[in-house]
Amino acid sequence: MAVGAGHAHVLYRESSSPVHRLPPEVKIVAMVVFTVAVVATPREAFWAFGGYALLVVVVATLARVGPRWLLSRALIELPFVLFAVALPFLGAGERITVAGLHLSVDGLFGSWNILAKGTLGVLASLLLAATTTTRDLILGLDRLRCPHVLTQIASFMLRYLDVLVGEARRMRVARISRGDDPRFLWQLRGFAAGIGALFLRAFERGERVYLAMLSRGYSGRMPAVWQGAGAATAGQWLVAATVPVLAASIAATALVLG
């Protein structure tokens, strides 16, 4: 299996932009710090969220990720947007009348809070996903001293996702070739009946993969980690630090002013 190519996920955008070339551990830390800064910002500081949005736009431009791709993928947040819309009607406390609707002030601020912070968080993780393969992501987590048990489970999870999808496809083809007609809701029954079999087949295949890996010297970590190649240099840490440092100073200013 081609380790690099096999583990590019659906959200990964192949490119060689400066953001893509940064080591994964640097990007993970930057993204987490950025998100924490956004969440720590008081919700009344509207200007601060403008600043964060600007940072997202700059990074997206550098990473050559288009606004259309970014916004359509951000729809994953939709359930929470609906929750946010309901808040002004459900919130307690002081109420105001806007366009004939009796709304809670606290609820209005609450929905703004969820919309702004939620959207910025989703955009930040989408940018990480678009510029980092999952293999690199695990490599980055490992270099950040994440316990090996966790990185091991994570790398097996990603390896076996393909196995699982492949087995499901094979079983579906087998069903069709035996005269089943899986369409829309009716395939649910066949799917439910086969889910245990799918799990077992995927496990036995996965076990063979694992034994093959063991016999080729797998010791629980990926070669790139113990070889120590490609870890972030001080310069790369400094470059990537610009975004979280800017975000943190915006948050600090907003906290002091607010």
């Binding site: 996920h9 959200l11 993204m31 987490v32 924490v36 969440v39 720590a40 919700r43 994953i76 939709l78 359930p79 929470f80 609906l82 929750f83 309901a86 808040l87 919130g91 606290d106 609820g107 609450g110 969820i114 919309l115 702004a116 912070k117 939620g118 968080g121 989703v122 955009l123 930040a124 993780s125 989408l126 990480l128 996903a129 992501l137 316990p147 048990v149 966790l150 091991q152 489970i153 097996f156 999870m157 390896r159 076996y160 996702l161 699982l164 999808v165 439910a192 009946a193 889910i195 245990g196 079999a197 799990f199 077992l200 995927a202 496990f203 036995e204 076990e207 034994l211 016999s215 629980g220």
Partner: protein, 238 residues
Amino acid sequence: METLAMHISNGIINGPVAAIFAALALATLTVCVLRGRRDLDDRLAPMAGLVAAFIFAVQMLNFPIFTAGVSGHLLGGALAAMLVGPWVGALCVSVVLVVQALVFGDGGVAMLGLNITNMALVGTAAAYLLIALLLRVLPRTPAGLAITAFVSAMLSVVVASQGFVVQYWLGGTTDLGSNLAGLAGTMAGAHLLIGIGEGLITATTVVTVAKVRPDLVYALRGLRPAAAPTVPAVGGVR
């Protein structure tokens, strides 16, 4: 309105409460890592990976309940507890949540502590306690195992959903006042229905695995009179 896809997104719960739960999750996960390391042998390592992959895939299925507005998805805590035990199981679900937060933006990164507490820790712990209890009470038949898996999966989902209600009560960014009880009720109701789906999937999967490879089911390890474990021969498992 309860379209809480179980993964809490940024800004729903305030910072201090999120930080407290992050610390709590970190401490509990450390215990899980230490205990899980002991469990994770040659047979459990690929199983843990597959359980995580399975949960990851199954969490992609969103259940619409009643209307398109209300939906939720499976958690997999009971399946993980059943097949790989509580420690590694909690780690599996946590890994799924971390990857989903980092790569898909499903659940805010700053809210990871809350999500891990609800789904990976509370969900798996509740499931494992129920499994341990029910396996002692119920007959050791496939039907008994199926009921154990179904009930523990269903109830663990409801318990996990109430974790969110507690967190919202502690640090929700908007004061819902008396509507909080309504939130608790709707969450419980919605997740009872999700729990039925989760219970069915967990029961079918666990029973199938237990029939063919009982050595793979962690929850049955201590209970069966040590049947000679079928050690897979290198190169051919079938």
